[in-house]
Amino acid sequence: MSTRLSSGGRLVNRSATCEFTFNGKRFTGFEGDTLASALLANGQTLMGRSFKYHRPRGVVASGAEEPNALMGIGKDGKFEPNQRATTAELFDGMQATTQNHWPSLELDVGAVNSALPRFLPAGFYYKTFMFPRPFWKHVFEPVIRKSAGLGKAPKDRDVDRYEHFYAFVDVLIVGGGIAGLQAALTAGASGARVLLVEQTAAWGGRAAVDGVEIDGQAAGEWINNTIQELKNMSNVRIRTRAMGAGVYDHGYSLVYERLTDHAPETGGPRHRLWRVRATQIITATGAIERPLSFAGNDIPGVMLASAVRDYVVNWGVSPGDRTVVVTNNDDAYRTALALLDAGLSVPAIIDARADVTGDLPQALRARGVDIRTGTGIATVKGGKTVAGVSVCAQAGEGAATDEIACDVVAMSGGWSPVVHLWSHCGGKLIWDEDHAHFRPDPDRAPVTHDGTAFVRTAGAAHGTMSTLDVLDSAAKSAIAAVEAAGFKATQHDLPLTNDVVEAPMSPVWMMPQGAGPAKRMKMWLDYQNDVKVSDVMLAAQEGYESVEHTKRYTTLGMATDQGKLSNINGLATLAIALNEDIPQVGTTTFRPPYTPISMGSIAGEARHDVFQPIRRTPIHEWHEAHGAYMEPVGQWRRPYCYPRNGESHDDAVAREVLATRQSLGLLDASTLGKIIVKGPDAAKFLDMLYTNMMSSLKPGKCRYGLMCNENGFLMDDGVVVRLDDETFLVHTTSGGAEHTHGHMEDWLQCEWWDWKVHTVNVTEQWAQIAVVGPNARKLLEKLGADFDLSAEGLPFMGWSEGKLGGFDARVFRISFSGELSYEIAVPASQGRVFWDALHAEGAEFNATAYGTEALHIMRAEKGFIMIGDETDGTVIPQDLGLGWAISKKKEDYLGKRAQERSHMTDPKRWKLVGLETLDGSVLPDGSYAVADGTNANGQGNTQGRVTSTYHSPTLGKGIAMGLVLNGPDRMGETIQFNKVDGSTVATKIVNPVFYDPEGEKQNV
């Protein structure tokens, strides 16, 4: 049974206890524990259930590579599923729960799947649930979803906050083991700006656990001294709990910093995502030990050899009383030594190699440990815990020679460098026969804009294993990096190290070598996704030759651990099955992030009120104070209507329309785009931009214009004002200002770069208010102006400027409602006061604020189009009866040639008409006009569609606009429009101008 040792544990503080619960049970651990080490210390070896077969699982690893011990941690707004117990630092009050079992971790009925592995082989779902198709969605998937799965999604809103941080460095070093520390020392000495990040809370990586000595100092001492030295360098920054998550083009990289996961009650952000721009990156990310594939290698108690000694040395925890070490290399003997030093029993070391002569095995032999060479594990005995192992010859088929009782199996299949960050941006790998691993190929590094390498490797991530080589590679990479970043490197003397002679490892991809199908079905490759040796072999047998295909077919390496333990073993197994060399089979693609990062960190500050910028006009607060129901228009929020005392939105809209038509309405039109176009060529430019002629517009006048893109489609519309000979003010739609401005600059910068035109977006300089209705002029006259407001002095489509009631005003006499109407612009700083003044002075005319819906209805009553309603990116002005706004005199304008194409001139294009239901009802939005027969897909034919539809308070009935086949030629004809309930409504085609067709009201 696992337990806390009476002494030891370099990372735990035994004087600080932490109470925590595990599935509701109360446990105690120490500060410095991980959740995994604390659970082992409390004798809890069962930590989860597997994904597919619900097999009992214990912790396998001690770090980021852990596939099994995934927990839900926290509760309510701080709950997060799928956290690795090996990387979750223990804190007082932690609440951890296991996942993927029912009813309990100990008794899981889903484990029945485990009894049926032959029925759930690779590709089982693909093969079984193909037919009948509808069953997948409604029958199979819900059942499968219930039985398979990891943690549950949080139910509550995340209460924590998150942020980003942008850092620009010369050298980013990822990994705070001795390689990363050495690289930082060397790089820092050059004066380069260095950022060193380490994913765990502790510096030094494995060196202290492995008993490394550097220059006569124990690793721990060297690490502490080095940290001090780095802290004293003003150009070096070091961060723990900060993981290099991804490397992207041009040295962009992400560092995921976990600030309060270990102390959730602390204030401040929980995670910070560093968005680093590094000239050079050094990955000192270490290596991950590989499991061995033997039958029963997933039983709780079977662990990586390195993890076993981590628990003993780092956390003073014994994973069990009797540990059998099984290995193909010398390094695992360090685990046996650590166990013996802690007073624990190592009944045997099972070494697959025939010949075992290295310094470490000799040291173990000297201590009397039973070393079985040329042997392997035939099978692990046990269910929820290890009871023992049966031993066999590695070279045979697995006939057991004897059994050894034990409760832990420490396995080592060799080490694989962590090449993820190297590979993210295209770094290539090379197969190293000696160590049987892929390592970065320095000749094919990730390259930056000029084709030179921007990622280098150091230490075990480089493929080096001895302390001396680790430090040497780190110093060399650091020198190369700072020189590439333009600094002068200081040469570094190599330290003295206590490396021992290690004998070569021998690759073992299956144990025993000749294991038959029964054993292969119990050899787990991917613990998290329950992929076994037999599954990969089946995939190969069924023709999956590419490792990428095999991965997807078997789900090998597709779980949240992304195959950190399983990939190399899996592809080696595939290579054997295909009878190919491992490098020929290759690896799957490594993609960021290295381990999962929180969604919160990706969102950063963009949550709640600042999820998205909301644009506010200078009058926004008034709208809110007056109960406006707001709607988004681009990023603006505009009042849709202003319901009063329990009024429905429909009633409010009707009231606003009638008040405006009968007396006086006020609209906050500040969101309208306003772009100054100025220069000697401004008129020529606008002639190209608009379909109609703008150069003939006289100063003092306004003209409505249509803007098309080069494909001829209507893009934006608005009123153009000529301020003076060389200066125009272009009004755009509210949502179209930025886009239109960009469109202008695109043409000016890329095509007509020699035209003398400046554009300036002045949208927000002005608050703009529409004063609309029969009493509009009276209100302006009441305010008093130092310019002529009379019908003759300021005629329809004219403009004037001056003082209006003490405000600096520009008054445009334009109308989007059909009423006598002025749009008045005042500087934004005067906007709110001006709005208030209009209401105060307009009270006698029942001045009524109206919203966008009233605006829409009034323009529809007049048959005015709305960009986004009557247009959808496929509509040309000719479709909308706007031929009058298309100049026949101009040689060219944007869209002209496109509009001459055969499809654009096709008489069968649907054209704009007014629509009126015979029963006066409102046509459904998006309704289609039905036609006889069906199309090739068996769908009913159509002959038109509704583009705008409203109840007109003015006319007391439904009105609509739509595009209809030959519409303008069919006035008075009745056609059918479909409704949501499947029925149709008889609708008459009419003139789209429903209200005041002669235009008498706006022209008074």
């Binding site: 942020e163 910070r272 220069g679 400046h758």
Partner: protein
């Protein structure tokens, strides 16, 4: 008549303070920046040195900033802006140049305190290391999701200009990033 800035001087207190600074005159000048008449018109009217690329020259409430290869921004007291526009325009009459008062299209903030630099580095993808970004440097960039311009105005003080409509958003993200307990300890 009272004129209102976007947030009426809103401020959030803490180790790092964020304040809306009220109305400031701002004038966009577009034209050929190598043209001596343009340089003279702008520097003569404002009394400020002509800024080099990405630079800003400041004297009290006036400042002249390089915005783009053909664009400057002139800052001045709000009530001087119209007069400045008129004066510069008069000097540049007949030339291809555009001078426009954009004062009210903007909002301006002061971020001050020992972590002011870090607060901006949480929001702007700019190298704000003191070696790279010091007084005199002006950067057009973004703060989270909106456009902004930033420069250092004093030892622990930075100024921010953004569009008026997003003033609340900018105030909110600056205040959020300046919250006590969220210092990075990087610079």
């Amino acid at each position: 008549m009272s004129k209102a800035s976007a947030l009426m001087g809103a401020r959030s207190d803490g180790a790092t303070m964020v304040e809306e600074m009220g109305l400031r005159g701002m004038i966009t000048v577009k034209g050929d920046l190598s043209d001596i008449d343009l340089k003279n018109a702008v520097t003569g009217t404002s009394g400020l040195d002509f800024p080099a690329q990405r630079q800003i020259s400041t004297v009290e409430e006036r400042a002249l900033a390089w915005m783009a290869p053909d664009e400057l921004l002139l800052l001045c007291p709000h009530d001087e802006a119209d007069q400045m526009v008129a004066t510069i325009s008069r000097h540049l009459a007949g030339q291809f140049a555009t001078v426009i008062n954009v004062s009210d299209a903007r909002a301006m903030f002061r971020v001050s305190g020992p972590d002011a630099r870090e607060v901006l580095a949480k929001l702007a993808p700019v190298d704000l290391h003191p070696d790279s970004f010091g007084p005199g440097e002006m950067r057009r960039t973004r703060l989270a999701q909106v456009a902004a311009a930033i420069w250092q105005s004093d030892d622990d003080e930075f100024l921010v200009v953004c569009f008026r409509s997003v003033a609340q958003y900018v105030f909110d993200i600056l205040s959020l990033s300046a919250q006590d307990g969220s210092d990075v300890g990087y610079f």
